[in-house]
Symmetry: C3
Subunit: 186 residues, 3 copies
C-alpha cells in the first residue's frame, strides 16, 4: 500500500524508491462549466500514476489567467506539490493563456521541456508548431503545460515524463551530488 | 475572382474556403534606403499568395526597433491583418532587432514556430542556430519573423506555412470547436 | 606565434584568419570554494583554443546570480571579450541560476543556440530536456551557457561551436556584407 504524502517529499513504499506528489490541472472553460467531459485530465493522471507519482490534486479551472495563476501558486506554495501538470489553454484561441499564467508564476523557466515535447509532436503533425506550452519552476515545484487534446497531451507528456523524475531529484535536494555523479558516468 | 478584404476576415471565393489577409514587412536599412533590391519580400509574398493568403500590405522599413514596432502595431491594431510576416533583422548584427520589436508588441509568444523553422534549417546548415527569429500574437494577428536571406526565408516559411492556417482559425474564432474536433480524431 | 589580444578584436597570426577572444566561466559553489576540481572549465578552454579562440580569461565563480552577472558584465563591458562560455548552474537545483543571470545581462537573446545544443543532446539522453541553458548578446559579446558536467558541456559546445564564428563576425562588424553574401550563395 502506498503512503499518501501531501508535502511533496518522496514517500518510499516497498519496491518503489521514487515517488513524488503531482497535481493535474485541466484548463478549460467548458470543462469547468460542466459542459464537456474532461478526457485529458484523467488520462494525464493515469500516466503519472503509472510512472509512480502520487496524484494529490486534480482540478478543472476556466481559461482565466488569474485563476490559473492562483491554482498554480496554491499547488506550489501551499500544497508543496512536486510536479504540476496542466492540460489545455496552450493554443492560439483568444482565451488560451495557460502559458502566460505559467510564465507569470515561475521564477526559472525550463525551455528544454516544451522544446522536447514539440520536437516529438512535430514527427506526427506540423500543427505541433502551434502549441505554445511552457515549463518552469516555482519554489520546489515543476510546472509543465500540455495541450488540451487527449491525444496531444499523451504524446507530449510521454516525450518527457521519463526524465522529469531526475529533474525533481535536483530540485528537491536529493542527497546525492548530481554533478559529481554525472562526471563519473561513461 | 478573389474579393479583396482588408479586415483580416476570411473571404470565401469559389473553390477557396481558407483565405486570410497577410502583410509582408521587409526589415532592412539598405532596402529601406533604396540601396538594395528587396528579394526576400517578393519571394515571401509569392509563397503566401500560393497558399491562398491575400497580401494586403508590403512595406520596407529600416532596422529601427521603434519603426518596426509601429509597423507591426499598424498591421495588427489598425489594419487587422491576420498574418504578418517579417523578413530580415534576425541575426547578430548590432542593428538586428526585429525579434526584440516582435517580443515588445506581442502579448502571447508562439515559440513552437521559430523552433520548427530552426530545426528544419539545421538540417541544411548549422548556422541556423544563429537565427534569432520569434513568433507571437498581438490581438488577432499572428506575427512571424523570417531571416533576411531569400534562401533562408523560403526554407523557414516553408517549414511552418502549411500549419499557420489552423492557428489563424483558432485565433480568429473559427466556428468549429477545435478541441472537440481534435478529440474526435483518430 | 599567436599575438594575445584583450580587446576582443581578431588577431591575424600567419595562417589563422579567424581569431576572437573568449572567456570561460565555471559556475560552481564547490569549485569556487576549492572543494572540487574544475574539469569542465579546462575542457571547454581546450575546445575553444582548438577552434582558434584566444582564451583571455578563465575563472570559477559560485552559484550566486549577482556574482555571475557581475562577471558576465566585466567580460562584456570592461574586457570586451567576443565569446563568453559559462559551464554549470543550468539544472534544476535551487542554486542553479546561470540562465537567469544570463537573461538579466543580455539585451538580445539567441534562442537557436540552446535549442541546437539540446536537440543534439536529446539524441544521447532524454535528460537533455532538463537543461535550462540560454545564449544571448550583450554589447558585442556573445554569452553561451553550457551544462556543468564535462561530458554534457563537450557535447553541447560541439553542437554549435563551428557556427559561432560566423555569429561573431556579424556581431563585431566584419567588413563583408553578410546578407549580400548570403544572397549570392547557391
Amino acid at each position: 500500500m502506498r503512503a499518501m504524502r501531501t508535502d511533496g517529499m518522496r514517500a518510499k513504499p516497498a519496491g518503489k524508491v521514487d515517488m513524488y506528489t503531482a497535481a493535474v490541472i485541466t484548463v478549460s472553460d467548458k470543462g469547468s462549466a460542466g459542459e464537456r467531459e474532461d478526457l485529458a485530465g484523467p488520462l494525464v493522471r493515469e500516466m503519472l500514476e503509472s510512472e509512480g507519482y502520487e496524484v494529490a490534486r486534480a482540478v478543472i479551472v476556466p481559461d482565466e489567467q488569474a485563476v490559473i495563476e492562483l491554482e498554480l501558486m496554491k499547488c506550489a506554495d501551499e500544497l508543496d506539490i512536486a510536479l504540476v501538470v496542466t492540460t489545455g489553454g496552450t493554443g492560439f484561441s483568444p482565451r488560451d493563456v495557460t502559458p502566460e499564467a505559467t510564465i507569470a508564476v515561475c521564477t526559472r523557466m525550463a525551455p528544454g521541456i516544451p522544446e522536447a515535447m514539440r520536437a516529438e509532436s512535430m514527427k506526427i503533425t506540423n500543427r505541433a508548431a502551434l502549441t505554445r506550452q511552457q515549463a518552469g519552476i516555482r519554489r520546489e515545484t515543476l510546472i509543465v503545460n500540455l495541450p488540451g487534446s487527449p491525444k496531444a497531451a499523451r504524446e507530449n507528456l510521454g516525450a518527457v515524463l521519463p526524465a522529469l523524475d531526475h529533474g525533481l531529484e535536483m530540485l528537491r535536494g536529493a542527497k546525492r551530488d548530481c554533478a559529481a555523479d554525472e562526471q563519473s558516468k561513461p
